[in-house]
Symmetry: C2
Subunit: 270 residues, 2 copies
């Protein structure tokens, strides 16, 4: 079951807030930025911010809250981060400690929220720029791999770089690089192309996949930095509490994707 | 022997005009746009312009003259196209008919000049954007191939697409695509990456090379549209007279490369 595409971002958030939608947000409110979320205690927040800044392709910061404030008005006037995502993952001392559909009971005066771009709107961008996404036509999706690349350590956070792979024909690969380079807030350009073994990836052994993804002989695998990298950074840094979006259950914002073109992390939104 | 790098574009043109420099312009006036040149009779000029517009990666138009006017003030106040290139190739009925160091005796009232971007300043752009050009460090240069891709036929002009190949490591390939996409006037982004056979290229059989160029196992070949494509289009269209720059003997302009960033063909220059 997929989220109702016809709802506006605000209407979808209202439905989520009331408990009317608890599923993934893939396909919901197409054309609007969806964000990954990470909420940490103030004592670890500046370290996490430093790591995000050092790794803009992993976690391009779109907005951050004040300590204790669950709102992010830059992304939607009504947003309440305690209720407006359809699913959350709670991490204690770096380890996943269960899911929740709201986090009002976990909220604290010292929690700081960070929203960063994800690749959920990626295919939108690629299609708009004329990239032929043959893997979608084949009924396939991107695959996620753990690479031997490392994120840049900063502020007590670090760890291996997780990458998402999409296969494209060469001319489409070039168009995809051009297109995604224009969207630094959606992970930007790929980090690798064409030589999986060079970054420690065995294409047959994905970390997770949303469906089988093969690379035909006439296509090249492209690898983008993936937000799942954040989970491993949290595991390594082990803050006493961290709340993230549940996988595929994103914060749906009021920001139309075209407004993000050429905008840099933390540049401020229109 | 290489052209004197220390001269300004205007001083270099003055040296060329006086006969003091008749060699290639590679390395001359670094950081300034060098242009390919094609001069055709007015009767074929609009057809050629249409073909350039249909193939902006092959022949991105930077400036065009009025019929009979050998000046291009947008590229340099003093430019006289009859004398300011160190070498010309004369084509009659599409066939090369010799070289010249000036073309005052060939000039006619109906000739129209077209200047378009070339890849001579390419390496400048790539180095400025942090691309590691290992082939230069190995003492190698780009290689030129005839591909099975075709330019888009228009105005009586057409023919096969000639491509220039540079090998880069994957992360540098991505950076190079991002960087060159920002310079549509210098051929823009590549037309192909990674699968030479898919565009009919045998890497061991270049059309021409400025030194041996290999592709190590950890690098990918990138292919950009090459201005040599114009020579084949002229051969096919066979105008009674066409004068081009002699290979590697370019029009050196007053336009600094950074001013070209994000500028489109015919957009007008600063």
């Amino acid at each position: 079951m997929t989220a109702p595409a016809a709802l506006s971002p605000a209407a979808l958030r209202a439905a989520i807030r009331s408990g009317g939608w608890t599923g993934p947000t893939a396909g919901a409110a197409p054309g609007y930025l969806q964000c990954n979320l990470a909420i940490l205690p103030a004592g670890r927040a500046e370290g996490f911010r430093a790591w995000c800044r050092a790794n803009p392709r992993v976690s391009p910061l779109v907005a951050a809250g004040e300590p204790g404030d669950p709102r992010l008005p830059a992304l939607g006037a009504d947003i309440d981060l305690r209720t407006d995502l359809p699913g959350y993952t709670v991490h204690r001392n770096g380890e996943p400690a269960g899911h929740a559909e709201s986090i009002g009971d976990l909220w604290r005066d010292d929690l700081v929220a960070f929203a960063f771009g994800c690749s959920f709107s990626f295919e939108d961008v690629l299609l708009r720029e004329g990239v032929d996404l043959r893997y979608l036509a084949r009924g396939e999706r991107e695959a996620i791999y753990r690479s031997t690349l490392e994120s840049e350590a900063a502020g007590g956070f670090g760890g291996p770089l997780i990458v998402s792979m999409r296969p494209l024909r060469p001319a489409d690969a070039i168009r995809a690089i051009e297109a995604t380079a224009r969207y630094p807030l959606a992970h930007g350009a790929p980090v690798h192309i064409g030589k999986p073994a060079a970054i420690g990836v065995d294409l047959d052994r994905p970390l997770e996949t949303l469906g089988r993804t093969g690379v035909p002989d006439d296509e090249l695998p492209l690898f983008w930095a993936c937000g799942v990298t954040v989970e491993l950074a949290i595991r390594q840094a082990a803050p006493d509490l961290c709340i993230t979006h549940r996988s595929a259950h994103m914060l749906v914002t009021d920001i139309p994707m075209p407004a993000l073109r050429d905008r840099m992390p933390e540049e401020g939104l229109p």
